[in-house]
C-alpha cells in the first residue's frame, strides 16, 4: 500500500476519540456534547475502515456503514429530546439540569 501505514490511521483515530471524549466531559451544551459523541463514533469508524483495509476484508466497512445509521438514530433521539426541552424553556446546560437529585 502506498502512503502512510495503518498505524498512522490508528493514532489519528485515537486522538480523535480522545478529543471527542474531552468534548463530552467538558462541554455543557447538550448539542455540543452530541456533536462530540459523533466525533467519537467517527473515530471508531475510521479505525474500522483502516483495519478493514489492513486485513483486506470488507466486513469492517459494512460495520462502519451500520454505525453511521446507528449514529443517525442516536442523533434523531437526542435532538428530539433537546427540542422538547427547548420548547419547555429549559436551560440547555447539563450542569444546570438538576431536577433529579438525591
Amino acid at each position: 500500500m502506498r502512503g502512510p501505514d495503518i498505524q498512522w490511521y490508528v493514532i489519528l483515530s485515537a486522538i480523535l476519540f480522545s478529543v471527542g471524549a474531552l468534548g463530552v466531559m467538558l462541554r455543557r451544551s447538550p448539542l455540543i456534547i452530541l456533536l462530540s459523541v459523533e466525533i467519537m463514533l467517527n473515530a471508531a469508524n475510521l479505525l474500522l475502515i483502516a483495519f478493514s483495509r489492513l486485513h483486506g476484508r470488507e466486513d469492517g466497512q459494512i460495520f462502519a456503514i451500520s454505525v453511521m445509521a446507528v449514529a443517525a438514530s442516536e442523533v434523531v433521539v437526542g435532538l428530539g429530546m433537546i427540542v422538547a426541552m427547548g420548547r419547555r424553556h429549559v436551560d440547555l446546560d447539563v450542569d444546570k439540569l438538576r431536577t433529579l437529585r438525591g
Binding site: 459523541v37 463514533l41 473515530a43 471508531a44 479505525l47 460495520f63 446507528v70 431536577t99 433529579l100 438525591g102
Partner: protein
C-alpha cells in the same frame, strides 16, 4: 451470484415475534379508536411478551447443542434462550405495571411499541455472536430505552433523565465500538469464536480493545464507575420503565458480558477476571455507599441495583462453571425483586401523586398489607436473606468466588451486604414503624383504587422471589444447562 444465507427463523423467533408485535402496535396507534387503544395496546404487548417467553422456552428446549445461525450472526443456544425467557418475563410484568400509569393517552400505543421493541432488542442482543450484532443489538434496545425514559415529555425530570441516559449511553456505546474496532484490527475477525481462534492472547492492542469492550458493556450493566447515569435515569423515567430497565437491561448486559468474555477472550481470562473483579468491588462500594444517603426510594433502588451488578460481576470474575450458574441463577430472583420493588413504588406514587421517599412510605405496610409484605420480601431478598432467592444468589456467587480462590471477593461482598442492611431495612422501617397519620400523608384524590394488574404483577414477582429459594435445584439445573453452552 448472491446466495442468501440460511435463516434459522426459529432461533430468531423470540426477538422477531416481539418486534412484529411492536410493528402491529404502531398500526394500533393509527387504526384503533382512541378509547380502545390503551387496553388493546397493553393486551397486545402482554401477549407479545408472553408469546416470546413461550418461544424462548421452546428454543431452550430445542437448543441443547449450541450452534451459530445466520452466518455467524447469532448464537442459538441455551445460554441466550434462558436469558430471553427472563427478559420476556420481565417485559410481561412491566406491561402489567404500566397499565395504570398516568401518561399521555395519545402516545400509549407508541409506548408499548417501544417497550416491545426494547424487549426485542435485548432478546436479539443476548444472542449476538459477532461484534457487529453485538453493537447493533445494544443500540437497538438502548435507543428504545432512551425514548422510554424520556417518554413523559410533560415532565422536565423525564426529559432530563432521558437526555442524560442518552449522552452517557452514547459514550458507552462509542467506547464499546472503539474497543470492538481494536479487537477487529488485531484479529481481523468479527465473530467471537473466530476471535478466540485467532489466538492473539495478551496482544497489547487486543487487551486495549478488551478493556474498552468491558467498559462499554459495564455502562449498560450500570457497574461502577460507569454507573453515573443510573440514579438519574432511574429516578426520572416513568416508574414502570424504571422497573423494566432495572431488571431487563441488567439481565441482557451481564449475560452478554459473560458470553463475550468467555467466548471471544478465553486466552486473556486472567486479565479480564481481574478487571471484572475490580469493577465488581467498585460497584459494591459505590452502590452501597451511594444508597446510604438517599431519601428518594427510586434513587435508593437505583444505587442498590449498582451494588447488585457488583454481586453478579463477582460470578463473572470467578470465570468458572459455578460462576456462570451463579450469574444465571442470581438474575432470576434479582429480576423479580427489582421489578416488584419498583412496582410497589409505582403503586405508592400513584396513590400520593408525589415522588416516593422514605418519608412518605410511612404506614404503607399497614395500609396496603399485600403490597407491604411484598415490598418487605423484595428488600429482604435484595439484602440476601433466606426465604428468598436473593439468599441463594449471593450464596452461589460467593461459592463461585471461593472456587476461584478469591476469598477476598467474598469478604468484599459480605461487607457490602452489611452496609446494605442499613438502607434496605430502612425501607421496612419506613413502611411499618411509622404511622402515616403521624406524618399527615393523604392520598391524592381520595382512596387509592385497586389496581388488579399491578397487584398481579407484584404477586408474580413475589412468587418468583420466594419460589426461587425453595426450587433452587431445578433452577440451578436449568442454569447449568445454559452455562454448558459457554466454553468454560
Amino acid at each position: 451470484m448472491i446466495n442468501k444465507p440460511h435463516v434459522d427463523w426459529f432461533a430468531l423467533s423470540p426477538s422477531l415475534g416481539l418486534i412484529g408485535v411492536s410493528f402491529v402496535l404502531l398500526l394500533v396507534a393509527v387504526l384503533v379508536p382512541k378509547n380502545a387503544r390503551k387496553p388493546v395496546a397493553a393486551f397486545l404487548a402482554f401477549a407479545g411478551f408472553v408469546g416470546s417467553c413461550a418461544l424462548s422456552v421452546l428454543l431452550y428446549d430445542r437448543s441443547a447443542q449450541a450452534v451459530t445461525a445466520v452466518h455467524d450472526a447469532i448464537f442459538r443456544d441455551r445460554w441466550s434462550a434462558l436469558a430471553q425467557v427472563l427478559l420476556a418475563g420481565s417485559g410481561a410484568v412491566a406491561v402489567l405495571i404500566s397499565y395504570r400509569e398516568k401518561m399521555r393517552e395519545e402516545h400509549i400505543a407508541e409506548y408499548y411499541a417501544l417497550l416491545t421493541a426494547a424487549g426485542a432488542g435485548m432478546a436479539f442482543f443476548v444472542q449476538a455472536s459477532n461484534l457487529m450484532t453485538l453493537f447493533l443489538g445494544l443500540e437497538w434496545f438502548s435507543i428504545a430505552l432512551y425514548v422510554l425514559t424520556a417518554i413523559d415529555i410533560d415532565l422536565i425530570g423525564s426529559l432530563e433523565a432521558g437526555l442524560k441516559y442518552l449522552i452517557v449511553g452514547a459514550v458507552g456505546s462509542a467506547t464499546l465500538l472503539f474497543g470492538s474496532a481494536l479487537v477487529y484490527g488485531t484479529t481481523g475477525q468479527l465473530s467471537f469464536d473466530k476471535i478466540a481462534a485467532a489466538g492473539h492472547g495478551h496482544d497489547v492492542m487486543l487487551v486495549a480493545g478488551l478493556a474498552m469492550v468491558i467498559a462499554g458493556l459495564a455502562f449498560k450493566a450500570s457497574a461502577a464507575p460507569f454507573h453515573m447515569w443510573t440514579p438519574d435515569a432511574y429516578q426520572g423515567a416513568p416508574t414502570p420503565v424504571t422497573a423494566f430497565m432495572s431488571s431487563a437491561t441488567k439481565i441482557a448486559a451481564l449475560v452478554v458480558t459473560y458470553r463475550v468474555l468467555t467466548t471471544a477472550f478465553p486466552h486473556d481470562q486472567r486479565l479480564w477476571s481481574g478487571a471484572i473483579a475490580g469493577i465488581a468491588i467498585a460497584s459494591l462500594a459505590w452502590g452501597n455507599i451511594g444508597a446510604l444517603v438517599q431519601r428518594n426510594v427510586k434513587r435508593l433502588l437505583a444505587y442498590s441495583s449498582v451494588s447488585h451488578a457488583g454481586f453478579m460481576l463477582i460470578g463473572i470474575a470467578a470465570a468458572n462453571a459455578l460462576g456462570a450458574r451463579a450469574l444465571m441463577y442470581y438474575l432470576i430472583p434479582y429480576a423479580a425483586m427489582s421489578l416488584g420493588a419498583f412496582a410497589v413504588v409505582a403503586a405508592r406514587e400513584r396513590e400520593l401523586g408525589v415522588p416516593v421517599t422514605l418519608h412518605n412510605l410511612a404506614g404503607f405496610g399497614w395500609e396496603r398489607p399485600v403490597l407491604g409484605i411484598s415490598m418487605w420480601v423484595f428488600v429482604l431478598g435484595m439484602l440476601g436473606f433466606p426465604l428468598t432467592g436473593g439468599f441463594f444468589g449471593k450464596f452461589y456467587v460467593f461459592a463461585a468466588a471461593y472456587r476461584h480462590g478469591w476469598w477476598w471477593l467474598i469478604v468484599a461482598g459480605v461487607i457490602a451486604t452489611m452496609i446494605s442492611a442499613y438502607y434496605y431495612l430502612g425501607i421496612v422501617r419506613a413502611m411499618y414503624f411509622r404511622e402515616s397519620a403521624e406524618l399527615q400523608l393523604a392520598p391524592a384524590g381520595g382512596a387509592p383504587n385497586r389496581e388488579l394488574l399491578l397487584s398481579a404483577g407484584v404477586l408474580i414477582c413475589l412468587v418468583v422471589t420466594v419460589g426461587s429459594f425453595f426450587a433452587v435445584q431445578p433452577l440451578i439445573d436449568v442454569a447449568r444447562h445454559a452455562a454448558n453452552a459457554l466454553p468454560l
